[in-house]
């Protein structure tokens, strides 16, 4: 019994990492049909955000709150991923809708650019740049609220951007002085230290639950619920679903489809940023971290059925449990008296490398039987 529980927990732990990484892609690729090869790099930006936020919380002023930095990091990473996603959609993706091959090449190019960006631009300047862009984009919204449409909109805008650039430069300059580690660009991986309470394990008798894993499972559940609520209960979610089902008709009915596209992509990218925080708790943070996860993300989305949130949940849970059962050789413990020939087979696959091979083979088999994934989209969408 405890064996079964342990295996289930490990499966959930592995699956939740896959799911939180794939959730953004399930929106971007699943709903919009954009093959975004830069998804892993958006996660990488989220992971670097964790590092920068952590550095802020090591300053004397914020030091007492160090234990809580991870929650701030989640929120900021969502905004970083979302902003980069927004710029990406406005500048590249929207010119390529309906052209999957060009999208594939363009987003791959973007992924290389982002990797090189973090290698060559000091984090202090990246932070300043992000802050300037945030102020510049959010400023007009706030000003319109406050004063209504102004007399000289271009002057206000210009003023706003001047302020934004000044804020960005000042922040970057201050960070260079206050946090010397962020002042120089480096291709080296950086070390993200989880707060003390997030580092150990929770002892339940002879069984230890790793706390980072629990945190990621919790974060994943929250993210899935939030996405579900956003898509099915909010006004913009309704619009997104309408545009996915019939773009021309939605346009006729007055839904701003371009804004919907930008928003959808930004939300998907923001989720990638949050996933970046999660993986920084488990592994390393470096320019290449995205590449470790991108294949898994596409695997989950394709296996689950493109355009289906629950498909992604089931697929990631399935892959997670199978990885643990095969890779850790659980069958041998569950059924010790198995025949010798079977035992040899199980032992052969009970290494991480071979478990991966077997899981890929199983996915290929499933896709042979169900080419559109476990939960294919039905209805009008499927016909287009």
């Amino acid at each position: 019994m405890s064996l079964l529980l342990e295996s289930l927990f490990n499966g959930a732990a592995i699956g939740s990492v896959l799911l939180i990484a794939a959730l953004g892609l399930a929106i971007v690729f699943g709903l919009m049909g954009v093959i975004n090869l830069a998804h892993g790099e958006l996660m990488m930006l989220g992971a670097y955000t964790t590092y920068v936020v952590q550095s802020f919380f090591k300053l004397p002023l914020l030091e007492p709150l160090f234990g809580a930095y991870i929650f701030v990091a989640v929120a900021v990473a969502f905004l970083v991923g979302g902003l980069v996603g927004l710029l990406l959609e406005r500048s590249v993706i929207r010119r390529l809708y309906g052209r999957p091959l060009e999208t594939l090449l363009a987003t791959w190019g973007v992924s290389l650019i982002l990797q090189q960006f973090v290698r060559t631009v000091p984090l202090a300047w990246s932070t300043g740049l992000w802050l300037a862009a945030m102020v510049g984009l959010v400023g007009p919204l706030v000003m319109n609220r406050l004063w209504g449409p102004g007399q000289r909109p271009w002057l206000l805008r210009l003023g706003n951007w001047v302020v934004a650039v000044a804020v960005g430069v000042a922040t970057a300059g201050w960070i260079r002085g206050a946090m010397p580690k962020l002042a120089r660009a480096s291709a080296r991986n950086v070390d993200v230290t989880a707060p003390r309470w997030l580092r150990g394990g929770l002892d339940l008798g002879d069984w230890t639950l790793p706390i980072p894993r629990l945190m990621i499972i919790g974060l994943t559940i929250l993210a899935v619920l939030a996405v579900y609520w956003f898509l099915n209960r909010s006004l913009w979610g309704l619009r997104i679903r309408a545009v996915t089902q019939n773009r021309a008709m939605s346009d006729c009915l007055g839904i701003p489809t371009q804004t919907v596209d930008a928003l959808t992509f930004a939300v998907g990218s923001g989720l990638a940023g949050v996933a970046g925080v999660a993986v920084s708790l488990l592994g390393s943070v470096g320019p290449n971290v995205g590449g470790d996860y991108i294949v898994g993300c596409f695997m989950v989305v394709v296996l689950g059925g493109v355009g289906n949130l629950w498909g992604a949940v089931v697929a990631s849970a399935g892959i997670g449990v199978l990885t643990d059962v095969i890779g850790a050789g659980r069958l041998l413990e569950i059924w010790p008296q198995m025949p010798a020939w079977l035992q040899q087979g199980v032992e052969f696959f009970a290494t991480t490398s071979m478990a991966r091979v077997l899981i890929f083979a199983l996915i290929v088999l499933v896709l042979q039987v169900r080419p559109a994934g476990l939960f294919p989209q039905r209805g009008r969408m499927a016909e287009v």
Binding site: I14, P212, G327, T351
Partner: protein, 397 residues
């Protein structure tokens, strides 16, 4: 300083791509060594002094590129010697080039052994100068002495060869290996491996770790959160974690685990301190030095000594003269052996909370290198000796 002439040597490391982070540090120390030699009067051959200059090429973390650039350095630039490489794959790609042109490569990294080329000079540790003393330490002297072993590594040639040797060694010592697993390169999901370690070592034990770069970060972070910590009796001995890696993984996760090297920055001798201080003065106060860098530094000095002893830049003369050359290296005295490897001191270090090593044990003087491993059945009883034309690459002892 007035020199009579100049001589250009070749430097061939990855300056771009995945390996650039590690390999560029070798290029930096090699240049530092060259500048030091020049400042001290350069190389003297036949009464003439030569200033050393260098021609640098980028291997770009791509093994065929290494072979191509090696050809270019030999044929076009006609350098007398090439300092280069890091991964075994890059060395294996360059080996046929150097053998067919009968040229000379100096290779600075600790590696799996089982190779002894006439045209390569290896200044890194062989398994009997790193892995074997490390395993023996874990089995006999560490806090988990006598407990079972678990072997974990990345899935490629070095970890698999190294672990084959470790298993044979533990068998002869009477130790027990209760499991081994390999993580495919580029995969950081270590949860199944951690579950296996927990099952195989319920009461703690020794873990021999040959994981690569990034994968170490995932491994140590998750070992700690699963409760497999030194306090609970799980000690990891790593073969590829040096000062530079501690900095990127974070000392919180590594404290009290072990590593084995020939050189640690913490070595408290004037030669070691001078090496680290010169490096910091040249490349920045926050930089650290480590074993591969020390080894790259040594090989430039050994080449200089070989050339001056041979009184010629000719490879064949230098090859003969090099054997028996000694150098007072940052790690202590080293000597070139007839099998083109060097005798070096072996040290075991324990990671301290501030990200350095505390040296726990030091071998009694330098240990002779074995190119052909004596625990591995296929090479047992063989040795290599280039000083005797009848013996050569592989002969029965």
């Amino acid at each position: 300083m007035a020199f009579d002439d100049t001589v250009a040597v070749g430097i061939l490391h990855s300056l771009s791509g995945t390996m650039a982070i590690s390999e560029s540090t070798l290029s930096e120390v090699e240049k530092m060594a060259i500048e030091e030699i020049n400042a001290a009067g350069g190389v003297t051959v036949d009464g003439k002094t030569y200033e050393i200059t260098w021609i640098e090429e980028d291997g770009a973390s791509d093994w065929p590129t290494f072979a191509e650039k090696a050809k270019k350095l030999i044929d076009q630039d006609q350098v007398p010697v090439v300092f280069g490489g890091w991964t075994s794959a890059s060395r294996k790609a360059m080996l046929p080039v150097f053998e067919s042109k009968d040229h000379f490569l100096y290779y600075p990294i600790q590696y799996e052994g089982q190779e002894c080329s006439r045209n390569i000079f290896y200044t890194g540790a062989t398994p009997n100068q790193q892995a074997e003393p490390a395993v023996e330490f874990m089995f006999k002297e560490s806090p988990v002495a006598g407990k079972p072993f678990f072997l974990v590594g990345s899935d490629y040639v070095f970890p698999r060869t190294s672990n084959t040797i470790t298993k044979a060694q533990l068998e002869s010592l009477g130790g027990e290996v209760v499991g081994e697993d390999y993580l495919p390169l580029g995969n950081t999901e270590v949860a199944p491996i951690i579950a296996k370690i927990k099952n195989a070592l319920p009461d703690g034990g020794a873990i021999i770790n040959t994981l690569n770069g990034d994968q170490n970060v995932a491994f140590f972070k998750q070992m700690q959160s699963a409760g497999l910590t030194p306090e609970n009796g799980y000690y990891v001995m790593s073969f590829s974690i040096a000062e530079v890696e501690i900095d990127t993984i974070g000392p919180e996760y590594l404290a009290d685990h072990f590593a084995a090297w020939n050189f640690f920055q913490a070595i408290d001798t004037p030669a070691s301190q001078k090496f680290t201080e010169s490096f910091k003065a040249k490349y920045g106060e926050d930089r650290v030095t480590n074993d591969p860098m020390e080894s790259a530094y040594n090989m430039v000095y050994l080449w200089k000594a070989g050339v001056e002893k041979a009184n010629s830049f000719d490879d064949n003369l230098v090859r003969e003269a090099l054997i028996g050359v000694t150098f007072d290296a940052p790690q202590g005295p080293i000597e070139v052996m007839p099998n083109h490897h060097i005798s070096q001191t072996v040290r075991i270090g324990q990671v301290t909370p501030d990200g350095q090593f505390e040296i726990l044990s030091t071998s009694d003087g330098p240990i002779d290198p074995q190119a052909w491993n004596q625990f591995e059945p296929s090479s047992k009883g063989y040795a290599c000796d280039w000083s005797d034309p009848d013996k050569g690459e592989k002969y029965l002892l």
